[in-house]
């Protein structure tokens, strides 16, 4: 069996054994209250409910007219208590709808829809109505992903089951426990795209391969869905790298995966798609991994979207006293460090990691010695050390030449740097500055042309 891989990348300690063997358990916040961000992926939504409204589980509570948006649904049955700004992943304050559960199980789901006989347009509309977004972290609206431009032929749908971030085990558990749903969801996407499916599984999860293949054979998808093993390596689960590894293609710079004839979809997302058709259930639940060295008993949980992580302590999981040094929403390579645990689980929250001081690093930067380790590690084949040198010299064109704007911010360069230089952190800043410059230049040009037109008149 061929094992697929890409050039570059790193091999961080996986630490998945902490939570790998814990089955997904249902959990509910102790306060019986959920804090649901009004927008989770796509264009900003506006709330459809007001304070005091009684809502059912699955009822649409926020939406937008824009195509590039996904509606949000209530994850509990109860009363809208407040609509106010709350801190979410990324340490930003955004509008949230706070709903207190009344303990009942009133649901307002859509009627089930047969994905294999219904009209394609209805199917895309169903995915949108269910509020499905990419659940790997980026929260890109799925119906947009599944509506590529007509001139782009999608040959392959890659189910991204690499889960290359250390600690996270939720895709692993989902595939083991909900194999049927995963394959069903993938089959629905394949039907919509008219493509073949490839499940890309990292070798550290090769024990799932027989499970998947059994289910594929049982459903008679043997000709359409194949399972490919990819090397356990970070960032194997990055769109660009998984396409390079499995298909031997590159996504052109500045283009979408559709330009390479493929779309990449997350394990959680296909499960949500299956639920949306079979049960008519919108995306109101989210499975995630709770792990890290400061976590007493790491676990995999299924919680309503909007559950405050802090509301799960200590009823659902506990922390070692005084051991937490960093609270990460997401994985340790690309996740966000949070100021405290009082933030809600959003559609894209795949895990919350409580790191001890030993697990993270707080070392100061020392001078660059030019070892070139970051050049070897970069999965995009950029030259991180030169990008940092150019950024320090404020030469943004030089930094762009070495690949500043092609950086995927995976963090491999910072991970390997012996001088602990915050490379990718500087690139984020550099990219923001370049984008600002481009916006300024555009505004200036617009102002100039406007004034010229004014002169003509």
């Amino acid at each position: 069996m061929k094992i697929f891989t890409f050039k570059g990348g790193i091999y961080p300690p996986e630490r998945k054994e902490l939570s790998r063997d814990c089955p997904i358990t249902d959990a509910f916040p102790s306060t019986k209250t959920v804090t649901i961000p009004v927008t989770m992926g796509g264009a900003p939504n506006t709330p459809l409910v007001k304070v005091g409204d009684i809502v059912a589980k699955g009822q649409k509570i926020a939406a937008s007219d824009k195509f590039m948006s996904a509606p949000v649904h209530s994850s509990v049955a109860g009363t809208v208590k407040k609509i106010q700004n709350c801190m979410v992943t990324g340490n930003m304050e955004v509008p949230c709808i706070i709903i207190e559960s009344d303990g009942s199980d009133r649901t307002d789901y859509m009627p089930p829809l047969d994905p294999f006989t219904c009209d394609e347009k209805d199917a895309i509309a169903r995915i949108r109505d269910a509020g499905i977004v990419g659940m790997g972290g980026a929260s890109f609206p799925t119906h947009v992903k599944l509506s590529p431009p007509p001139d782009k032929e999608i040959e392959y749908v890659l189910l991204n089951a690499a889960e290359c971030e250390p600690y996270l085990t939720i895709d692993d558990r989902t595939m083991q426990e909900e194999t049927e749903k995963v394959i069903d969801g993938l089959a629905i996407v394949l039907r919509l795209m008219g493509a073949e499916g490839i499940i890309a599984l990292e070798t550290n999860k090769d024990y799932i391969k027989p499970l998947l293949e059994k289910e594929i054979a049982a459903k008679g998808y043997g000709d359409d869905i194949k399972v490919a093993l990819v090397k356990t390596k970070y960032p194997q689960g990055c769109e660009k790298n998984i396409v390079e590894a499995v298909l031997g293609r590159e996504i052109p710079a500045g283009a979408l995966p559709a330009d390479a004839g493929t779309i990449i979809i997350n394990v959680g997302t296909v499960c949500a798609i299956s639920d949306a058709f079979r049960l008519g259930k919108p995306l109101i639940e989210r499975s995630l991994t709770i792990s890290g060295g400061a976590c007493e008993k790491p676990c995999n949980l299924r919680v309503p979207v909007g559950t405050m992580i802090g509301d799960l302590i200590p009823e659902v999981f506990t922390l070692k006293a005084g051991a937490t040094a960093k609270i990460i929403s997401g994985g340790p390579m690309m996740g966000f460090a949070m100021t405290n645990a009082m933030f809600p689980v959003a559609k894209g929250t795949s895990g919350v990691i409580f790191l001890t001081k030993d697990e993270t690093y707080l070392t100061d930067e020392s001078p660059c010695i030019g070892c070139g380790g970051c050049v070897d590690a970069c999965p995009m084949h950029l030259t991180p050390v030169m990008m940092v040198r150019e950024l320090k010299a404020e030469n943004y064109d030089g930094a762009k030449k070495f690949g500043l704007m092609d950086c995927i911010e995976c963090g491999c360069c910072s991970y390997v740097c012996p001088a602990n230089i915050r490379l990718v952190q500087r690139f984020r800043l550099g990219k923001a500055i370049v984008r600002q410059q481009m916006a300024d230049a555009k505004a200036k040009a617009a102002a100039q042309s406007a004034s010229k037109e004014g002169e003509k008149k």
Binding site: I10, N91, E155, Y156, I198, A228, K240, V246, L247, P252, A253, G254, A255, D259, G261, I313, L319, T324, A325, K326, I327, M333, M334, F336, A337, M338, N340, A341, M342, T360, Y361, L362, S366, P367, C368, I369, G370, C371, G372, V375, P379, M380, H381, L382, T383, V385, M386, F402, D406, G411, S414, Y415, V416, C417, P418, A419, N420, V424, Q425, R428
Partner: protein, 349 residues
């Protein structure tokens, strides 16, 4: 209040994970790689070699501390880079060098070549080689004219390279073997080819060094020597023995292992490193064959150090870009293993 709020929580941009490498660890690996050469140098040239090494290391460390104190810079002696410079400087000096000259060399290496340029990582020229170049040019009588013969106190007037250059030199297999095991006159650490190869493999396996620059340098010298040998003698085997001599003598392999792999003064990109090595090899070959000095490794590396920053512009193709730097057009390559659609179409036909 949740438990986590009682903890001391740190905020930072991702990643929150590190490999745990440090400059000190890398320098320690280089020091370990250099130890066999030190021991063998003392075995060959006696107590004088030991004194040279110790004085060189001590003065490099002392000068670095003094310089950083004087300039009110943070003291970075714990990164061990001064120790590496000290060892390298001693190993590329003859054992006969007077102590006060090696101290001057260390001063030049640490303060002028490194400190004044901004310290570790900011230096343009290899500190140890710059120190050696300073000694070599300022005190030619002790640095290049006389060499200690191994195991004796006798002083010979020439190394093998200068013998080759001046008189007809006939080599037989025992000479090659002696050269391989380092039983010859020369600098303290550069004689034993076997030990240098071991160090090279050690550093390569630990991924401390990259193979491109050393290979480029050695291969270029070999090819150049082979061609001139062929032109001169018209005899293929004679040309090959020339190549063997060129590789086994002088500081070529020592320089290729420890000097062209110096991080700060060589390019960071892979193609840049390859070209850097080829450039070093070419200049070494030209100096050895046509120049006024018997050996050219030191000057070749110092000259290439000067253009190393420009060689960083040689990069590999970025992901998603075509050969000319434009965004790649949509690819049409299909992996055989998943060629399901084609198989189906063929079946339909």
């Amino acid at each position: 209040m949740t438990d986590s709020q009682k903890n001391e929580i740190y905020l930072s941009s991702s990643p929150h994970y590190t490999k745990g490498l440090s400059t000190t660890k890398i320098m320690l690996a280089v020091i370990i790689a250099l130890l066999p050469e030190c021991v063998y140098g003392v075995y060959l040239f006696g107590i004088k070699a030991l004194v040279t090494i110790l004085v060189s290391v001590a003065s490099c460390v002392v000068f670095e501390v003094l310089f950083q104190k004087l300039c009110k810079r943070p003291c970075t002696i714990s990164d061990c880079s001064a120790i590496v410079t000290g060892i390298l400087l001693a190993l590329v000096s003859p054992a006969t060098v007077p102590v006060w000259i090696i101290i001057l060399g260390a001063l030049f290496a640490v303060v002028i070549a490194k400190g004044l340029f901004g310290g570790l990582g900011a230096n343009v020229f290899n500190p140890a080689l710059t120190g050696r170049a300073f000694m070599f040019i300022s005190f030619p009588a002790v640095m290049g004219a006389s060499w200690a013969e191994p195991f004796t106190d006798a002083v010979s007037s020439a190394t093998i390279l200068s013998k080759i250059k001046s008189v007809a030199f006939a080599a037989d297999s025992s000479v090659y073997l002696d050269l391989f095991f380092g039983k010859r006159a020369g600098c303290i650490g550069e004689t034993c080819i076997l030990l240098i190869l071991i160090s090279f493999v050690f550093l390569l396996v630990l991924k401390v060094i990259d193979w491109r620059a050393p290979l480029g340098m050695v291969a270029t010298v070999a090819v150049g020597t082979f061609i001139t040998g062929l032109v001169k003698t018209g005899n293929c085997s004679a040309a090959l023995s020339d190549v063997l001599l060129a590789l086994l003598t002088g500081g070529l392999l020592f320089g290729a292992t420890f000097m062209v792999t110096d991080y700060a003064t060589t390019p960071v990109t892979k193609p840049g490193r390859f070209v850097f090595g080829i450039g070093c090899g070419l200049i070494t070959f030209l100096i050895r064959t046509f120049g006024g000095y018997p050996e050219g490794v030191m000057f070749s590396i110092l000259i290439m150090n000067a253009i190393a920053p420009f060689l960083n512009n040689l990069t590999v193709r970025k992901y998603g870009y075509g050969k000319k730097g434009h965004a790649k057009p949509a690819p049409k390559k299909i992996v055989q293993e998943f060629n399901i659609k084609d198989a189906k179409q063929e079946a339909a036909k």
